[in-house]
């Protein structure tokens, strides 16, 4: 069994029209499908049907997260091992999520739902799949971005969920932060060669801290920060800045429902044998100092206190 990729996140939004405008014109994604209550988006340089779904709702936050597996038989296996672990599961039929084949949805101890599937429709690059031109056009005035990179979610006991993902689903844990008593207060997990696909930190169960988009170069993070400011998009007080952890140049901002987004560039990669990358650890002082925000060497309390 192998979980191979973070494929998409599905978000709740309180105003579908405003959210559509945001993910198109501020983030720079292309719309790939629309239903009465949903809009699907993909970046210019990803081939699958979508990387973000927004769902009209009475709330903000995360609906579920989609991961692709390497073989159709993995779906049954994930259902079995998750149920053996005591987690709730439910079957997802093909097409229930547009562009996605059958899968199994599991509820993590953290309260988040993950959908594991094998098939995703291929819609191709924005520039096509035959002799594509190498420079992508702007999407609604914003540079195209590379891909959905990761998300940070919150829960009461990060260690419990990280342990399940590592020991049962073979996710690689790249970095953790520990309290003085040794308990894990935050952890970064990946299924690829990036530093993280899904990270967990303390907070309410089922909470969403942010979803992050990878942009092509560090200078584009600066250009995008300029655009965010000129368009009056709410941003974090810190940022443009750099994270000590991962080393990315980063800016945080909010969609019109209050879901936090991030543009980032420069994360280190973890090539090598999957699941054999040695763990990096942090203590609280470093996490809340240069590990968190490298330039400011402090973390604005609101950064961890506010989640959707």
């Amino acid at each position: 069994m192998a979980v191979t990729r973070l494929n998409y996140v599905s978000l709740y939004v309180t105003d579908l029209d405003l959210a559509k405008k945001h993910y198109e014109e501020v983030v720079g994604l292309r719309v790939t499908d629309v239903t009465k209550n949903q809009v699907y988006f993909q970046s210019s340089d990803s081939q699958n049907h979508h990387c973000v779904i927004i769902n009209a709702s009475d709330r903000a936050g995360i609906e579920h997260i989609g991961f692709k597996v390497s073989d159709p038989s993995d779906i049954k296996e994930i259902k079995l091992v998750s149920e053996n672990y005591g987690l709730e599961t439910s079957d997802v039929s093909a097409g229930e999520i547009l562009g996605i084949g059958e899968g199994v949805k599991i509820k993590l101890p953290s309260g988040h739902y993950l959908n594991f599937f094998y098939h995703a429709d291929v819609i191709g690059y924005a520039n096509g799949m035959f002799n594509p031109k190498s420079i992508a056009d702007e999407v609604m005035g914003v540079n195209p971005l590379s891909h959905l990179d990761h998300l940070l979610v919150t829960c009461e006991d990060p260690a419990k969920t990280i342990k399940f993902l590592q020991e049962v689903l073979d996710f690689n844990v790249t970095e953790t932060a520990s309290a003085p008593d040794g308990s894990i207060i935050a952890g970064f997990t990946t299924v690829g060669n990036t530093m993280h696909n899904i990270a967990f930190a303390g907070g309410p169960n089922g909470g969403l801290h942010h979803i992050a988009f990878y942009v092509y170069d560090r200078a584009d993070v600066i250009r995008r920060t300029d655009l965010l400011k000129s368009r009056n998009v709410p941003t974090m007080e810190f940022g443009l800045t750099r994270h000590g952890i991962a080393g990315v140049t980063t800016v945080y901002f909010f969609d019109p429902s209050g879901n936090r987004n991030e543009f980032q560039c420069g994360a280190y990669e973890t090539p090598g044998v999957p699941n054999r990358v040695e763990l990096v650890t942090w203590d609280v002082d470093s996490l809340m100092g240069k590990g968190g925000f490298y330039y400011e060497a402090a973390v604005e309390p609101k950064f961890f206190q506010t989640v959707s």
Partner: protein, 112 residues
């Protein structure tokens, strides 16, 4: 019909600021125009950073407010980035505002 009400915000230290707030705008916007940046983060009704407590008066939400946040607070809580007054209001704010205008340096800088 648009009406206007007097909204007063009291900080923990007892200091108060007031503004006339129209029912066509949010309390946060009205104070922002007066030069007061209230404690907030997403300013979009999703994160909960701007939560405060109603001492007296009525309000309603002018814009969508995430049920995730409404379900987690007790009666009398108000999220200032989305709320508009329905009467004169007295509000207790757990976090102090920042004065943006009228001084050489902002309050944020003065604390350093």
């Amino acid at each position: 019909m648009t009406s206007t009400y007097q909204v007063t915000i009291r900080a923990e230290d007892g200091q108060e600021i007031s503004s006339q707030v129209s029912t066509s705008e949010t309390i946060m916007n009205a104070f922002d125009k007066q030069g007061y940046a209230l404690h907030a983060s997403c300013k979009s009704g999703g994160c909960g950073a701007c939560v405060a407590q109603i001492l007296t008066g009525q309000f309603q939400y002018l814009l969508p407010m995430s049920a995730n946040k409404l379900e987690r607070v007790s009666d009398g809580a108000v999220f200032l980035c989305r709320a508009t007054p329905q009467s004169n209001l007295m509000i207790q704010a757990p976090k102090k505002w920042i004065v943006k205008k009228g001084s050489m340096f902002s309050d944020a800088l003065r604390d350093i």
